[in-house]
């Protein structure tokens, strides 16, 4: 594991936009004065005349993107998750979601791994907010390979998409040679029989680490990567939970309304097995190095193992 490559999915986003731009000129990229951080600056450098900066005006960013989309073109609208899903929630709902417009929201700096900027910028609520909007596709890529595929898939999909990217460089866990993204379909990353660990984003890698350690203790964990939170792959989660009888959900997001809630929604009607939700426990974050914060809030392999032990107890 020593030589595992680490790349932040926001970097993947910026680079994927540049690649997409080489093939298509029917889209523009919009940002709100965060192009260096969201990495859309890479696109700006490559295609300066296809990039528009609205300045620090996230509400306008979303509604303007919607207006562009009404003309039959695609707009990628980028800012931090806090401002995309939080500040501009109502613009996303009413200007983009209600008319079901072809806007692709690239939301970076999601979750507590924003690090030093602290609670005001650590968005642990965006998955919950975005999945309540009818017709909104919500995707949380787990690594660089997946994030690049997500950008392309979002472009090809007709309708609004919320893409959640991270600031922190995280391990590349997928093989770019064999990886294939299928919207709305979860991926079994590791098969097991005792417990199902459902994860998204950077927690997929951590769940895989946990599964490896659990195997040493004789616990067989199945790890599922749910990159598409909405539409949710009920079938796969129910199938796995039926087999293992126990579920742990892992996300760098509030335990309220996110992946864990989506899993509960899927299981409750027909497969009500015990579920333990690992996430941010209804608290605000704080400043600190990202990796240390993830440790402090239990969003690491140890936290996953603890949750597995609890659900199996």
């Amino acid at each position: 594991m020593a030589d595992v490559q680490k790349i932040a999915t926001r970097v993947s986003y910026g680079e994927a936009l540049v690649e997409l731009g080489a093939q298509h000129d029917d889209f523009v990229v919009l940002d709100a004065d965060l192009a260096a951080a969201t990495q859309t600056g890479k696109f700006k450098a490559a295609y300066p005349d296809r990039f528009y900066n609205v300045g620090i005006a996230e509400g306008h960013l979303m509604s303007m993107a919607a207006g562009i989309a009404t003309t039959g073109h695609v707009a990628f609208a980028s800012t931090f998750a806090m401002f995309a899903a939080g500040r501009a929630f109502e613009q996303v709902r009413n200007s983009i979601g209600y008319p079901h417009l072809n806007v692709k929201i690239g939301a970076t700096h999601a979750g507590i791994s924003v690090g030093e900027d602290g609670a005001t910028h650590q968005c642990n609520e965006d998955i919950a907010l975005m999945r309540t909007i009818p017709g909104m596709t919500v995707i949380v890529p787990a690594d660089d390979v997946e994030a690049r595929a997500v950008v392309r898939a979002a472009y090809e999909l007709e309708g609004p998409v919320y893409m959640r990217f991270g600031r922190l460089a995280t391990p590349v866990i997928n093989d770019p040679e064999t990886y294939s993204f299928e919207l709305g379909r979860g991926m079994v990353m590791r098969e097991g029989t005792d417990v199902t660990i459902v994860a998204c984003g950077l927690m997929v890698g951590r769940a895989l680490e946990a599964a490896e350690q659990l195997a040493g203790e004789g616990i067989s964990a199945e790890v599922i990567n749910i990159h598409t939170i909405k539409p949710f792959d009920d079938e796969l989660v129910i199938k796995s939970a039926s087999k293992t009888g126990h579920v742990v959900t892992c996300e760098e997001h509030s335990v309220i309304g996110g992946l864990g809630a989506a899993v509960l929604d899927a299981l409750a009607p027909t497969c009500p097995v015990p579920v333990r939700k690992l996430g941010v426990n209804d608290v605000f974050g704080e400043s600190g190095p990202a990796v240390d914060l993830l440790d402090k809030y239990g969003l690491n392999a140890e936290g996953v193992i603890k949750a597995v032990r609890e659900v199996l107890a």
Partner: protein, 273 residues
């Protein structure tokens, strides 16, 4: 089309507004009536549109940023032939394509879903930007209320439009001085409106009487001569215009007439020539 014909159509539009709001037993007659000349001029004279082909790609765009004045837009679209006039009485009814606030996916001729104030102008800016970006020649029009100017997003949008010199964009401020809770002075005035838009790099046209068709025509004609900056037409109008007991009354912002009031209003709109 001559001004006299347009005036006649505006009267029909007003009747359509009242039919819809009366049948719905709710809705926003005041601001709809006050903007009847603007709606009429845009759809019968100014804009390049085709009721038979409402999504025609080269059409001019209209965004009703003050989306609560949907009855005015619907009555205009119906009279222009986008859908049957008989539909107007289904306003706000379950199953109707005429939602309380406009939805582009429900109603032929509606270019953007609006209703949450401040967002429509941003969408219009996006349309105008897209036209510039992809080299299309259509123009984009957005109608705002003066109360709506209290929404901060209006100025986010104006800042972008001004800085990008979107001269294919015409923002019309329906300046009737009234909003739900009272006069704009009482609530939180955005005055002076013209100076504000000038400061945001708009070419401003002050329309002394936005209920006078000849003046409306002159304002839009002047707007077409502007290049290098977006245009803002500040149109002084009378809220509730055309119905004596509704004119300049805050109370008629969002209230439907009862049967008796409806009969009187419709009678006034026949007599007045």
């Amino acid at each position: 089309m001559h001004d006299e014909e347009l005036v006649q159509i505006a009267r029909e539009v007003r009747r359509g507004i009242l039919e819809g709001v009366h049948a719905a037993k709710s809705g926003h007659p005041g601001g709809s009536l006050g903007a009847a000349e603007i709606f009429t001029y845009l759809y019968f004279e100014e804009m390049n549109i085709d009721p038979k082909n409402p999504r025609m790609s080269e059409r001019d765009r209209f965004v009703l940023s003050k989306g609560h004045c949907a009855p005015g837009l619907y009555a205009t679209l119906a009279h222009r032939g986008f859908f049957p006039k008989e539909d107007l009485v289904t306003l706000r009814h379950i199953g109707s394509h005429l939602q309380g606030h406009p939805n582009m996916n429900d109603t032929p001729g509606v270019d953007m879903s609006t209703g949450s104030l401040g967002q429509g102008i941003s969408a219009a800016v996006g349309m105008a930007l897209a036209a510039k970006h992809w080299g299309d020649s259509y123009r984009t029009y957005a109608l705002l209320g003066d109360g709506e100017l209290e929404e901060g997003q209006v100025w986010e949008a104006a800042m972008f439009a001004g800085n990008h010199g979107l001269d294919n964009l015409v923002v019309i401020v329906d300046h009737n001085g009234l909003q739900i809770d009272g006069t704009i002075e009482e609530v939180n005035s955005a005055m002076p409106i013209a100076d504000k838009f000038r400061a945001f790099k708009f070419h401003v046209i002050e329309l002394a009487d936005g209920n006078d068709m000849a003046q409306v025509r002159a304002a839009f004609a002047q707007a077409r001569t502007v290049s290098g900056s977006p245009v803002c037409i500040v149109a002084n109008t009378v809220k509730g215009k055309g119905v004596s007991f509704m004119e300049n009354q805050v109370g008629w912002h969002g209230k439907a007439p009862n049967d008796e009031q409806y009969e009187q209003a419709m009678a006034e709109l026949v007599q007045e020539v």
